[in-house]
């Protein structure tokens, strides 16, 4: 249980943090679709008996690089490219994953995480937050105006590659809690809720990370109480936060 909560805090924090950029980038569904790419990696891990998250990350990493390169060549949006790649990966993954493990892989089971998983989640989460923080301004500036970013010497393509890799890492550890089908939620909903009540960047990022932690910890605790899979409960907790924020905003016209 302690390990689960540690993973929950680490994942919620990093997913909320990096998700705040994804929502600004209009890449919210990229995280969702990208998570499906992890499936064949997990399957190979299960079949060959090594840690499935390593397989997941390897597949995510490779597909992120492929998508980044395709984006540079074709100039199509990330969303389009990820959409094209992910269904293929999902199809391969479903064929490869042993039937007995399919449900767990798709929906996650955090009760099975151990000390090593928890350590990995902490290390990855810290790395994601530190590196995302380093490129946050560059990405925001390139969103405000690509010309302003370029005139400041920012290499937008390289920054995007690093960003995609960080998204892959976050998705890979997020799968521990919610499985591959629901992990997209972790990067989208906390940021969406934070966006509604934030008039400046610093509040937005902090709230997004905080909502991510609250959603995943609440989901894991509820899962322990009711003895059901945590993934759906994490989603419900996050949606409850989102709904609460909408009501607060609506009733109070409230912006931080």
């Amino acid at each position: 249980m302690v390990y689960s909560l540690v993973v929950g805090v680490a994942v919620g924090l990093s997913a909320g943090y990096i998700g705040s950029i994804m929502v600004l980038e209009k890449m919210a569904l990229v995280g969702d679709a990208l998570s499906h790419v992890a499936l064949p990696g997990i399957a190979i891990g299960l079949l060959l008996n090594f840690n499935p998250f390593v397989g997941a990350f390897a597949f995510l990493f490779i597909s992120a690089v492929i998508i980044w390169q395709l984006q540079r060549v074709t100039k199509l949006s990330f969303e389009t490219l990820v959409g094209a790649v992910f269904t293929l990966a999902l199809a391969i993954g479903i064929l490869l994953v042993p039937q007995t493990d399919l449900l767990e892989v798709l929906f996650g089971d955090i009760t099975k995480v151990d000390l090593i998983d928890a350590m990995a989640a902490i290390v990855v989460s810290i790395a994601v937050i530190v590196l995302t923080r380093a490129i946050y301004r560059k990405i925001v500036l390139s969103l405000i105006s690509e010309e302003l970013a370029a005139s400041k010497g920012i290499n937008v393509a390289r920054t995007n590659l690093l960003f995609l890799l960080l998204v892959s890492l976050t998705v890979a550890i997020g799968i521990m809690i919610t499985g591959t089908l629901l992990v997209g939620f972790l990067v989208v909903t906390p940021a969406a809720a934070a966006r509604i009540v934030s008039g400046n960047l610093s509040r937005y990022v902090k709230l997004s990370a905080a909502f991510g932690v609250i959603a995943s910890v609440a989901g894991i605790l509820l899962s322990d109480i009711f003895n059901i899979l945590p993934g759906p409960l994490v989603v419900f907790s996050g949606v409850a936060i989102f709904a609460a924020v909408i009501i607060v905003r609506w009733r109070m016209k409230f912006t931080f």
Partner: protein, 236 residues
């Protein structure tokens, strides 16, 4: 003839192609330090593309030579996204260490009134001024200003150009601006370069009042190639 050191920018035989289409063709001109050059031309004449080349953001043929220590500030025409939750203070603090209050005051904004506002909630005129503040925050000696086509009413537009003129005079900034408005060009610039893929006119800004020149600017392009252009007189 002035000494060559007085020039700040020399453009020679500049050609720019995007997706196999010639956007700018065989453009040569030169300008001196401290002047204001207006670039005018119909839509799709290559004005913003010329700026992108001057900023070295796109590949081009020919030469663009900035002379001496040049630091360029750039004011884009529009922002690609205004729905980013970022305050004016946060936006300007991206520019490592300017005195934000002072820089806002120098573009005629009351820091207390806009500092904590989000970029998306600013009026067109306020946003323009914030973007100028951004461009001048690290003390450039060249300012590229791409005029907005929408979002600013003509009164505040005049106020912005008046402010720009005082600012560039005070700091001896060379200003290159893109404008559609011949009145603005006549009032607020020294020289004008009319672009319609190629150069169709280069001369003193007061000449744009002349209907014959206006016909040159907005008519069918008749390209001119100047070997050298300086001050207001154009060497052939």
């Amino acid at each position: 003839m002035e000494a060559p050191g007085d020039y700040i920018l020399k453009v020679t035989k500049l050609s720019i192609e995007i997706a196999n289409q010639k956007i700018v063709d065989n453009l040569s001109f030169a300008i001196k330090k401290g002047i204001t050059l207006a670039i005018v031309g119909p839509n799709a004449a290559g004005k913003t593309t010329l700026f992108r080349a001057l900023l070295n953001l796109i590949p081009y043929g020919g030469h663009i030579e900035w002379i001496g220590e040049v630091k360029i500030g750039y004011v884009p025409q529009t922002l690609s996204a205004r729905d980013i939750p970022i305050s004016v203070k946060e936006f300007l603090s991206f520019k490592n260490g300017p005195d934000i209050d002072q820089v806002l005051a120098s573009v005629g904004l009351n820091p207390g009134a806009v500092l904590n506002k989000s970029l998306g909630t600013l009026s067109g005129g306020q946003l323009r001024r914030v973007l100028i503040a951004w461009a001048i925050a690290d003390k450039p000696n060249v300012l590229l200003f791409d005029e907005p086509t929408t979002g600013v009413d003509s009164d505040s537009e005049e106020a912005i150009y008046g402010m720009l003129r005082r600012l560039t005079a005070k700091e001896n900034i060379t200003l290159i601006l893109i404008s559609h408005d011949l009145h603005i060009i006549r009032e607020y610039s020294d020289y004008v370069l009319a672009l319609n893929k190629c150069m169709v006119f280069f001369g003193e800004s007061k000449e744009v009042a002349n209907p014959a020149i206006q016909k040159l600017i907005y008519g069918e392009p008749v390209c001119r190639v100047y070997g050298e252009a300086h001050g207001g007189t154009i060497g052939l």
